[in-house]
């Protein structure tokens, strides 16, 4: 069991990294899932629900990652990101929009000087199957076009083959290419499959300098299940305890209802505490979630649940 470590020493060589990863305590599947299920049974009502809905809105990375994306869709997305409800300006803006690299500059133009960040996926998203050179140039393209945040994918093929050190090196390189942009590292937990794999990948990403660790691309199922999120929050908690450094966490994929979002916030609250109930430390990657949060918010304020025709489709 780890009780402390030196990052430079751990990341010195393939051997030292492997030894460190092997020293991490294993995850018991049944126990992890039982704990996640208990936390999911928390009942968030009235004022807490109101506070959590607004917080969840502020944490959203409003995402569109489709081959069919159009300039108009990006325009809608940005307008909605800044003012999610055009009839109620008290609704806070979301944290960021998340798009493909070629749409970053367009998003930037629409968002102008608003606080909403532009996140771009990169590194041969979603599969991560390309050369390092192409991944780096993909990253640089997004950063040059003004991306504030980069959501990279790890090479799952390499991970499952046991090439942990090459993953670490790749993340370090991409981090270098990010410059001032924040780096989120997507593990694609649905392809790593076991909780022990997800634990190892989380630690590799943190050791390599990730600012955030992120569950999924949204292109693979299952994605951000509650046990996976809980397990990654444990990794973030331990990293903070041993290094004093804050790492953010971003579940993404399959988070559609307000109830899903509130469960995530409960997990964060009871694993990392209030300090992590902050868009700088926790993000939710989602597209349709925002509409349900707006409808729930409307219901809390007005007592009636509006039809989905009262919110925009994109």
């Amino acid at each position: 069991m780890i009780t402390g470590f030196d990052v430079a020493e751990v990341t010195r060589s393939d051997e030292s990294l492997r030894k460190f990863l092997d020293s991490l305590p294993n995850i018991d599947k049944v126990g992890l899932e039982a704990r996640a299920a208990t936390l999911a049974s928390r009942s968030i009502k009235t004022t807490s629900k109101q506070a959590f809905i607004d917080l969840a809105i502020r944490m959203i990375d409003l995402t569109t990652l489709e081959g069919m994306d159009t300039p108009e869709k990006i325009h809608t997305l940005c307008a909605k990101a800044m003012h999610p409800d055009p009839f109620d300006l008290a609704v806070p803006s979301v944290a960021a929009v998340c798009v493909y690299p070629d749409l970053v500059s367009l998003a930037k133009t629409h968002l102008r000087d608003s606080p909403v960040q532009v996140a771009s996926v990169a590194t041969a998203f979603p599969s991560g199957r390309s050369s390092l050179a192409i991944k780096l140039s993909d990253t640089k393209l997004a950063v040059e076009h003004g991306a504030d945040e980069i959501d990279m994918v790890i090479d799952r093929g390499a991970f499952l083959a046991g090439h942990y050190y090459s993953i670490l090196e790749e993340i370090v390189e991409v981090k270098g290419a990010c410059g001032p942009a924040h780096l989120k590292v997507i593990l694609e937990t649905g392809e790593l499959q076991t909780y022990d794999n997800i634990k190892k990948a989380s630690w590799i990403a943190m050791l390599a300098g990730a600012d955030f660790i992120k569950t999924s691309t949204g292109k693979v199922n299952p994605a951000a299940t509650l046990p996976v999120v809980l397990e990654m929050l444990y990794a973030v908690r331990d990293w903070y305890r041993f290094t004093g450094e804050v790492i953010g966490m971003k579940p993404a994929g399959g988070i559609r209802s307000s109830k899903d979002a509130l469960k995530l916030l409960v997990l964060v609250n009871e694993t990392l505490g209030t300090a992590w109930l902050d868009p700088n430390r926790f993000r939710i990657g989602a597209s349709t979630l925002l509409n349900d949060l707006l409808m729930q918010r409307h219901k809390l304020l007005n007592g009636n649940y509006s039809s989905s025709r009262y919110v925009t489709i994109d």
């Binding site: 807490s48 505490g273 209030t274």
Partner: protein
């Protein structure tokens, strides 16, 4: 850890109707006790009086046993498939009324609604479904080709899981063709009395199940009644011993499920975050009012500091308070008497030089409360390590080798439960083979299933409840 508070999410009590006074349920109807005496039953979280409960005396017990005796021949000769129908019906009605039972149980016991809703009532329902399945298959259960019921069984249950204990007792007894006189605990009679309503709804013939309320003397009268064929008791070791003395020399059969001082053993290769959950679940579940609680934590010496840090962090997130709030983790202690006993033992621990750590959450002013706590700097020679506290109090000791862990774990007069936390299967098998406990959990704790027999060694009692084995407590082996 600084936690965001959740707004109150209180379960409504509107679903429950509590009568101002309850008689005894004998021969299919509620009747006045011959004693004419009643006692108050309260909500331990508020000390509010909920109702008045009949105090059954010897005459009442006699009436109940006679009613059960009269009902026995017809019930015992019903085909198993017909008895199964009643049991399925009871299970389904209980399931439909689950929320009502959960709320009532929380009000009368003090345990959190999250537990009654997600544990007590679902497990109770599962026991009725499970035993309904056995009722027409008894000849294949391994008790001879024509196993026969015993007759009238007297069942005395404790206050820590009132409804679940009722189910563990009544379901196998009825499945096997016995008739029942059940005495719920003095402090928690309400769910059993509401269960009488379920029996009515299910159309169970009068006298098959009789529910009599009272204190220790009612229990003694039941134990000593000559027409009772068997006593099943769950409760304290002291009362168990006196029951055994009083039955000695009679033909009555007996099963006892008594106290415990379970060891929860954490190795350095444990899945640590889940082990921490297992420690919390092992001792703080149901305020530690659990006979199979993991009340003695044994931690491999090289990780004890790390375990303590993680345990404290986790314990500081426990939500203590109104048991009807759906987010409450730790509810009220069941009675003033139990609270006094916990305090007395904890004080003994402190005065013996053990170091106590307590959750700092504010406790409600009314009602009976004790903050989840643990002791370090304790040894096998401390009273708090040897005696069952039956409260949210853990003792923490260390060990160095599996053999030492086994020796320490077995060094108790009890033998009900133990837990092992390790990712190494061969070590788990070694430990499970050598631990003297009726239940050994590996990488989990306090898990129950109707198919899994439960019971103890030594001063934790004898006999098993649940599974095929549990049927043996309610059957006579008869060859065709």
């Amino acid at each position: 850890m600084d936690l965001h508070d959740y707004a109150a999410a209180t379960e409504s009590t509107n679903i429950v109707t509590i009568q101002s006074r309850y008689g005894l349920y004998i021969d299919g109807e509620f009747c006045e006790p011959a004693s004419k005496k009643y006692f108050d039953t309260i909500n331990p979280a508020t000390e509010d009086v909920l109702s008045q409960i009949a105090d059954a005396n010897e005459n009442d017990v006699d009436r109940a046993v006679k009613a059960a005796s009269r009902a026995f021949p017809a019930w015992a000769s019903l085909p198993g498939s017909e008895r199964a129908k009643y049991l399925y019906r009871i299970a389904r009605i209980l399931q439909e009324r689950a929320r009502e039972f959960a709320v009532l149980e929380t009000m009368n016991n003090g345990k959190p609604i999250r537990e009654t809703r997600d544990f007590d009532i679902p497990i109770s329902v599962a026991h009725f479904f499970y035993h309904a399945g056995w009722a027409d298959k008894l000849e294949y259960a391994g008790y001879g080709s024509h196993p026969q019921p015993l007759g009238v069984v007297g069942q005395i249950i404790p206050w820590n899981f009132p409804m679940m204990m009722l189910a563990w007792k009544i379901a196998p007894a009825l499945a096997c063709g016995n008739t029942v006189v059940l005495k719920p605990a003095e402090t928690t009679p309400l769910s059993a009395l509401l269960f009488a309503d379920v029996l009515e709804q299910a159309g169970l013939p009068p006298g098959v199940v009789n529910i009599i309320t009272g204190a220790g003397s009612t229990g003694s009268a039941l134990v000593e009644h000559p027409d009772v064929a068997k006593i099943a008791f769950t409760g304290s070791t002291n009362v168990g011993k006196s029951i055994m003395q009083s039955l000695a020399g009679t033909a009555k059969r007996l099963t006892l499920e008594l106290g415990g001082k379970g060891a929860n053993i954490i190795f350095d290769d444990a899945p640590i975050d889940q082990a921490i959950e297992g420690i919390v679940n092992g001792i703080y579940f149901n305020q530690g009012h659990v006979c199979c609680a993991g009340s003695r934590l044994l931690v491999q010496e090289n990780i004890v500091d790390e375990v303590l840090i993680r345990l404290q962090t986790r314990m500081s997130t426990l939500r203590i308070g109104n048991p009807l709030d759906k987010n409450t983790d730790i509810g009220a202690i069941n009675s003033r008497a139990q609270l006094t006993r916990i305090q007395e033992l904890v004080n003994a621990g402190v005065s013996e030089g053990a170091e106590i750590w307590k959750c700092t959450s504010e406790l409600p002013i009314k009602g009976f409360w004790f903050a989840p706590s643990y002791f370090t700097n304790v040894t096998d020679a401390h009273r708090i390590v040897r005696e069952e506290i039956f409260g949210p109090v853990l003792t923490i000791q260390t060990f160095r080798t599996p053999k030492e862990a086994v020796e320490k774990a077995n060094n108790t007069p009890y033998g009900l439960s133990a837990g092992i936390w390790s990712e190494k299967t061969s070590k788990i098998h070694f430990m499970a083979t050598h631990l003297k406990a009726g239940v050994v959990w590996a990488n989990t704790f306090n898990k129950f299933d109707p198919a899994s027999p439960f019971g103890g060694y030594r001063e934790s009692g004898f006999g098993r409840e649940g599974g095929r084995t549990g049927l043996g407590a309610y059957l006579k082996e008869v060859a065709s």
